[in-house]
Symmetry: C2
Subunit: 719 residues, 2 copies
């Protein structure tokens, strides 16, 4: 029924006959190697395309070892130490892994390091501290007793963090890969030379799978070799004396260690970004994109495709950044953790195609005795499928060691089904756009479009207690019939709100970049949003939206939202939360208690007109409000679930004052969804659950059709 193709298989030596079978069953048209595997000529001949991984800054360890002064760096902050006397010793490596990082004393430490009194925030003068190199201890000579001190120090990277992760996870016994820094002209030149050499040697490679460019996301380990700090979007590994000097020359001002260390928060994406950090991102993105373009041009000169892995050494190549298009990549491949990470890949602009690497990864953590890879594959596929239907990746694949997967025949069977289903999506949709509501959704935060689908995200698709109640909104949206934009406060300030936006969503904990913090004290931002709502816009606030305590208000848009959060200062003011008795449009399909995830305490209605739709322990958890011709909805939290996706759908249509448009390609059963491709004259109904489901589909013309779907099933129809 389906064409073969669109599937990439991780191959390895010694499995030639099994690979032939799998290629046939999964319809693979490409084979790839992985970290630690090689492809034989026999295997390469089985597929149309051969992908070969390429490591730009750790692929040549001979070079690394011969040029240790050109290793990559981190700026690290020591553990804070409390002065118990009038001098204080700070062992800077406490808590760090000495196989991963080592203090850089080759560059003048009095220039490049910084000691800070964290009780006052003042920098300690360089002559007021000394460093004992053997013991790796900084001593503050005239400390203020009981104050807390930290040292921000430049450190060499001794071990590439992803190589280390793979090494530890797979219990390898290999030489540690050292990352080298292309900021150094000598290394930069070598990288180009080495690439050409490699390309010369890989004639039968069709696709250079760049894993990735030059700097890894920030990933630091502790002294027990456990993860200590991880920022999948971080620029921690891009720092070096050379880069800092170039920055000063280019931007006209000097950065200090504190601009990177950021009180120990290291410019986490949850922080509202500083100007210095945004300038650094811009500076590095430009440098990295320029060098990346040079490399990609060479790859093209060799007649090969350049495919970038979305992850690992991807710092500075942000696909939604200003300079990404200049790189000229053919494709991006990324790991699919869920719907959000699928969209992060599939929405990438300026490439010919995108590819998703599905879970589970063929690693021994899942593919072990008692492991259940089918369950992981099903969950992964169900979350990804919704997103693919709204914004397709063109190819899919798997990663890791095929030998492990082959030990699980039911997994091999299930992947055969999934790959067939994947190809059918492309066949039936004819690669046309799915039906979308006639208005856009905008997610408003401090990062905006440069971090599309990346909010509330610490590390790739990893669950965090503090995030899932917000991340659920993105996960729901990833498979919903809406065009979704990510906009920043600066966008609104500088350009207003685009006419095609129907609903703005602001979600997050107070003072994080996702909620916005002090951006909500900007009169222009606030007034522009209120005017837009007043004229008919819809505003959804989740958790602690618009929060920044000022002038008697914690939620700055409490006049719009009709609710406020009690943070203790107004306990003396009586609250009269009163549940609306009428069934509201938003809750028409909700009969069970709503899952707000971590929820939000102490939210109360500020005026009698606010419609309180739900309360938990007397606190408001859902409120709806009218503001001029516009509307707002407050939600205490919204983890991902079929029920919450439906609740969000209803909240969006209600807040946009477009309730009458909701039942187009709409299903009666919340466990099911329906996606239409008007130009392809087709639609598909999907079952997101593990049970058989019956559902009614509302077509665009208002007619309905009754459908029964197998567990996890789907069915295509003609319009």
């Amino acid at each position: 029924m389906n064409d073969k193709g669109r599937v990439t298989l991780p191959a390895e030596e010694g499995l030639e006959s099994e690979i032939a079978t799998i290629i046939d069953r999964w319809g693979a048209d490409a084979v790839r190697d992985s970290d630690g595997t090689k492809l034989t000529p026999e295997v390469k001949n089985m597929a149309n395309k051969v992908y070969s991984k390429y490591f730009f800054t750790r692929g040549d360890q001979e070079w690394a070892k011969a040029n240790l002064d050109e290793r990559q760096h981190f700026y690290l902050m020591s553990e804070p130490v409390t002065a118990r006397a009038n001098h204080v010793d700070i062992p800077i490596m406490t808590g760090y892994f000495d196989q991963q990082v080592s203090p850089d004393t080759d560059h003048d430490i009095k220039t490049w390091w910084e000691v800070i009194d964290r009780t006052t925030g003042e920098t300690v003068a360089p002559e007021q501290w000394t460093y004992e190199q053997d013991a790796k201890v900084v001593t503050v000579l005239e400390a203020n007793k009981w104050h807390i001190y930290t040292v921000s120090f430049l450190a060499y990277q001794l071990w590439d963090p992803v190589h280390m992760y793979n090494h530890v996870t797979n219990k390898w016994d290999t030489e540690h890969h050292i990352p080298y820094d292309p900021r150094y002209p000598k290394t930069r030149k070598h990288i180009i030379k080495h690439l050409k050499k490699w390309l010369d040697e890989h004639e039968d490679t069709n696709v250079v799978r760049i894993t990735t460019f030059f700097y890894n996301f920030t990933l630091v380990f502790n002294d027990a070799a456990q993860q200590k700090y991880v920022d999948w979007f971080g620029y921690g590994a891009t720092v070096s004396p050379l880069a800092l000097q170039a920055f000063e020359k280019e931007k006209g001002y000097k950065l200090h260690p504190e601009d990177f260390v950021d009180e120990g928060y290291y410019n986490s994406p949850f922080r509202t970004p500083s100007t210095a950090f945004l300038d650094w991102i811009d500076f590095q993105q430009r440098f990295i994109s320029e060098l990346a373009k040079e490399c990609v041009d060479i790859i093209h000169d060799y007649g090969k495709e350049a495919m970038m892995f979305l992850g690992d050494h991807w710092a500075g190549t942000e696909p939604y950044g200003k300079y990404f298009k200049n790189i000229g990549l053919d494709a991006v491949v990324g790991s699919v953790g869920d719907g959000v990470t699928l969209r992060m890949i599939s929405d990438v602009p300026h490439v010919k195609y995108t590819e998703g690497r599905f879970l589970p990864y063929f690693f021994p953590d899942t593919f072990k005795e008692g492991g259940n890879p089918v369950e992981e594959a099903n969950q992964n596929w169900l979350q990804a499928r919704r997103a693919i239907l709204q914004s397709p990746i063109q190819r899919m694949g798997y990663g890791g060691y095929l030998s492990l997967a082959l030990k699980f025949p039911d997994f091999v069977d299930r992947v055969e089904e999934i790959t067939n289903e994947f190809r059918q999506i492309h066949l039936k949709s004819k690669e046309t756009s799915s039906y979308k509501a006639p208005f856009k959704i905008a997610i408003l935060n401090s990062w905006g479009g440069t971090r599309k689908w990346m909010s509330h995200h610490v590390h790739h698709a990893i669950w965090y207690k503090q995030c899932y109640s917000y991340y659920g909104i993105l996960e729901s949206l990833s498979g919903m019939p809406f065009d979704v934009e990510f906009i920043s406060f600066d966008d609104i300030k500088n350009n207003g709100i685009s006419d095609d936006i129907g609903v703005i969503i602001n979600a997050g904990d107070a003072y994080t970049s996702w909620s916005g913090g002090e951006a909500w004290l900007d009169q222009k931002v606030v007034s522009t949003i209120k005017e837009w709502i007043d004229q008919g816009g819809g505003f959804i606030g989740v958790g602690e939206p618009t929060a920044c305590e000022f002038q008697g208000r914690f939620f700055q848009l409490s006049d719009v939202l009709g609710v406020q959060k009690e943070i203790g200062f107004s306990l003396n003011t009586d609250k009269y939360n009163s549940l609306s008795h009428e069934k509201h449009f938003i809750l028409e399909e909700n009969d069970n208690p709503i899952d707000f995830g971590e929820g939000m305490k102490y939210v109360y209605q500020t005026n009698q007109d606010t419609m309180v739709l739900d309360m938990v322990d007397s606190d408001v958890t859902i409120a709806a409000n009218q503001f001029g011709s516009g509307r707002s909805v407050y939600l205490a939290g919204l983890p991902f679930s079929p029920e919450n996706t439906r609740l969000l759908l209803r909240a969006i249509y209600w807040v946009a004052s477009k309730e009458s448009l909701m039942k187009k390609w709409y299903t009666s059963n919340v466990q099911t969804e329906c996606v239409a491709y008007p130009e392809a004259h087709s639609f598909v109904a999907i079952n997101n659950s593990y049970d058989i489901q019956q559902t009614t589909v509302w077509k665009e013309d208002g007619t309905t059709v009754e459908i029964t779907l197998e567990p996890m099933g789907y069915e295509w129809f003609e319009i």
Copy 2:
């Protein structure tokens, strides 16, 4: 067995024979009238002492009506209004009750009112707004569109708030009492004159029960006659143009309406107090105490006692304030809501005796068909008894309408038992001090000793979801064998930490006065506390102690506490909370899940030495840490219960490094407690539960005795 006496009975007309019986059964030696009742000569003759209520500023309504220009005031803030055009109308009375307050336009509104742009915090120039007196609408002439505006206006009090409360609660049909202001020389003179006249007319009154002095606590009603704003400790009703002018003269600077309105928070005790507000408190306390002294001196001249009710018009007479002793009162009587409010009364200094008015109040809300006054009386007595044993009130009594109580014979029986038990405490303890641990507990907050037993308190003993998890600490302490002090950050800054303090407790939500907010950025405060802990002090932090986000730390004393709270900025740093496996001293008697009340999310251990004693959903809820020679304990919350009282006892002894001293007058059964009076050679074991309990008592010498106690029972022993 017991002497009669120590009990005050609320009497009323027409119940003479019943009163005689009750006086005998309850052992009452005093009778009192209430708001709305009178005593007949016959009743007065039955008791040793006659209490007569006296209202200083609402007792003469003829005066009030003849001097409407000398009524009391409030500063009120209008509801915030969002400007939807370039001018905005603000109906200032929206949400207020027009029978309680009326805008004061007799004083120049351009001088005494203030319009504020709450989006920017800027005051609108007086020429930029107008007031339409009939409609009661302020118009801002050139408003910033979408900004939020409020009007702070001076309002006359048309109806005394306590009179209104009694009126509404009892469904009275009486004339509304208008409060008049003794700041006006004419009214002040009249108050003295009226007092003398009243004293002349009340020859058989022994005790003038002052209810109370001049200004009620802040109590404002909404347009549905419901409570809108209540601050039992508030100074909202003390304001007037005259007082403000006097303040300026005395303190040398002018106050603005915003100094009272405070962004709409009205200087709630939960706010860290501003200098202006503290100056105002000082200014009014001095004025009020001087006039109160003048009145008390007159009462004494008539040979009568002056007893102040702790409540109602008690603003400015704070018993732990600087000027209270000057008033020269004989006694203070207050309503006993629980152990904390009992201690608030019994610890009052500078009076000859204190009296507690127990619950339930004989009002129709409890004494109605189906009501259970015995249950309320039992709960009230059990919580009060523990506190009385540690710090006794000298007398007890009841309030309300005796006729209602007489309809419940089981209630009359139970009060007979309670009054006997109360007298026995005095008999057996011989009014000597109970055994206390050899170190003091200090509760540290922004208010310190001026608000002893008053933290985490909105209105008299009323439960608030945001408070009970902290208030429970006070309630536990109210009946524990510790001397408890309340100290402020200024105390520590100016005087250091007294040698006799063994444990400091800081408890509250971030940025409230109870936690301390920016006080934790004061180096001297922080260093003094750390040094004290380092030298052996004990520090207990509850909820969000020492919290003020600065320089990478939310809990500023995280180095002492060994824990930190994640507020989103350091999500990228991995947390490794690890439960200590050894049973810790603090939890030796805990086998069941601990009730942390509202608890606290996202607290994590900052270093491996921190002992994590309890976690809920992976968050730390109890941690213990060593800091130098001192110790700290973190608790997520501690609502009042027998189990939590025991947990606190253990935490205190552990953190003070005095574990070996704990088992002195200690009971094995947490439902029981034991209080010793070494000088009286007696001790009592009490059962705080409604079931029979067996317990072992550890005497001071280490010997033990087995005791069985009836439900709610007690037993006295000789040492």
